[in-house]
């Protein structure tokens, strides 16, 4: 029985297989519509989410399965003080697979140690969010056709942005990927991320505060939101939240083939007027998210297309 807690729980080959399955689901959805019939997904969401929870549920329904769960801690036994471990044991009796989001880092790992069914980390605080990374990878693959030889710009909150850390970890396993890390000094990528994934492989990267000066180099621009909930100090959030706002004007020197990704939700870091630019793929990205989650649920439930 496998769980997915960290994107690095999956080998590069396994990720390639998931992407291949997701592409096949997109091409032949009918062949997958009853593959999880009789199976149940429990979505245990201890903090708010729209895309992740709904895309998990949509994924399970499109595989012919069913869903149960809660969407905030107050409507669960956590409000009465039940531990994550106990909840995981109990929910294992009701569901075949669990997707868990929790504000505390490591909670899904704790759940996976106690649950008797696979656990998917659907985001643990500012730590990991492997299914967002799988979504990002499928988006890049579908939009660019490859992972190799890309220059990937990551912009915004690179300190607390869990999607950024996981994406760096995943892309660092492909050939000749270069990173441009664009953030204010206070929100730089933590040293441990660079020490773990970039330095040992001598992966080329540079850090800058200036988006405009580097945008012509990029094949991918991955924008992130400065997240209010990650700050202990409101004043710091207000000072940093408007640091980067992507506008059509800033996109003028960018490559015509560049793709703009965003894990969403956005606040104001991408102007609405960018949405109609053909380089903006962040809404399609959410659709890819459903297909890669379908592929992941199938893998962890060990079901295959007949």
């Amino acid at each position: 029985m496998r769980s997915l807690i960290d994107i690095l729980d999956l080998s590069r080959e396994e990720i390639d297989d998931l992407i291949s399955t997701a592409c096949d689901i997109m091409d032949h959805p009918d062949q997958y519509s009853e593959i999880c019939k009789g199976k149940k997904l429990a979505t245990l969401f201890y903090e708010p989410s729209t895309r992740t929870r709904l895309s998990f549920e949509a994924a399970m329904y499109e595989l012919g399965g069913n869903c149960l769960g809660f969407s905030e801690a107050n409507s669960s036994s956590a409000a009465k003080g039940e531990s994550v471990s106990d909840t995981a044991i109990i929910v294992s009796n009701y569901a075949d697979i669990i997707a868990m989001r929790h504000p505390k880092e490591g909670a899904p790992l704790v759940a996976s140690m106690k649950a008797s069914v696979p656990v998917i980390n659907a985001g643990d605080g500012g730590h990991n969010h492997p299914t967002q990374t799988l979504t990002d990878l499928l988006t890049i693959y579908k939009e660019c056709g490859t992972f190799d030889n890309l220059t990937v710009g990551l912009c915004g909150d690179l300190k607390f942005g869990r999607t950024v850390h996981s994406l760096i970890a995943a892309l660092s396993r492909y050939d000749n990927v270069k990173f441009v890390l664009i953030s204010p000094d206070e929100l730089k990528v933590p040293d441990y991320v660079k020490d773990q994934y970039l330095e040992p492989k001598n992966i080329e990267y540079k850090e800058t505060e200036d988006l405009e000066s580097v945008i012509p180099e990029l094949d991918i621009l991955y924008m992130t939101r400065v997240q209010r909930e990650r700050f202990f100090n409101e004043a710091d959030y207000i000072r940093l939240k408007n640091r980067y706002i992507l506008t059509p004007q800033k996109l003028v020197p960018a490559k015509k083939t560049m793709k703009i990704l965003h894990p969403l939700p956005r606040v104001n870091e991408i102007s609405v007027s960018v949405d109609s630019d053909p380089r903006a793929v962040y809404f399609r990205q959410t659709l890819y998210g459903k297909f890669i989650r379908m592929a992941l649920i199938m893998k962890l439930l060990e079901v295959q297309k007949k």
């Binding site: 471990s85 880092e105 490591g106 790992l109 704790v110 605080g125 441990y192 020490d195």
Partner: protein, 142 residues
């Protein structure tokens, strides 16, 4: 200073000077009924000064703690007044409830019954990270 000879027990030697009491606490030696001696700042040919712990009883040694404090520590097993074994603890791969995660965002900060588990991620620099949140353990004082 003369400390009585141990007949059956353990001598933990080459403890970095000043860290004997920490080891005494972490190994919970205060709970033993037998004679336990902590010698501080004993002269050492190798490192100038060292601490030594002598326990006059066969005890189960937690080598994880010893290796974490300093892999240069030596453990001498004494039987019938003779040293029968000399061991060098290595830097352990995993530490369970030896050090504690201080990250307020970690699940261990709210669920008290979870063991604090750290994994060695950089042997060269002796860096441990929490398995739950990846926070780096605070550096040991040398």
């Amino acid at each position: 200073m003369i400390i009585g000879t141990i007949v059956n027990g353990v001598v933990i030697d080459h403890i970095p000077a000043g860290r004997g009491m920490e080891l005494y606490s972490k190994m919970k030696l205060d709970r033993l009924e037998c004679e336990v001696a902590l010698i501080k700042n004993a002269p050492s040919g190798k490192c100038g000064k060292k601490d030594i712990l002598k326990v006059n009883e066969e005890i189960k040694i937690n080598y994880e703690i010893l290796g974490y404090i300093d892999p240069r520590i030596t453990v001498n097993i004494i039987k019938d007044g003779q040293r029968v074994k000399k061991l060098h603890p290595a830097l352990p791969e995993t530490l369970i409830d030896v050090i504690f995660c201080r990250n307020p965002r970690c699940i261990t900060s709210v669920e008290q019954e979870i063991s604090h588990v750290f994994r060695l991620t950089d042997r060269e620099n002796g860096i441990y990270r929490c398995v739950y949140c990846d926070a780096q353990a605070e550096k040991k004082e040398k």
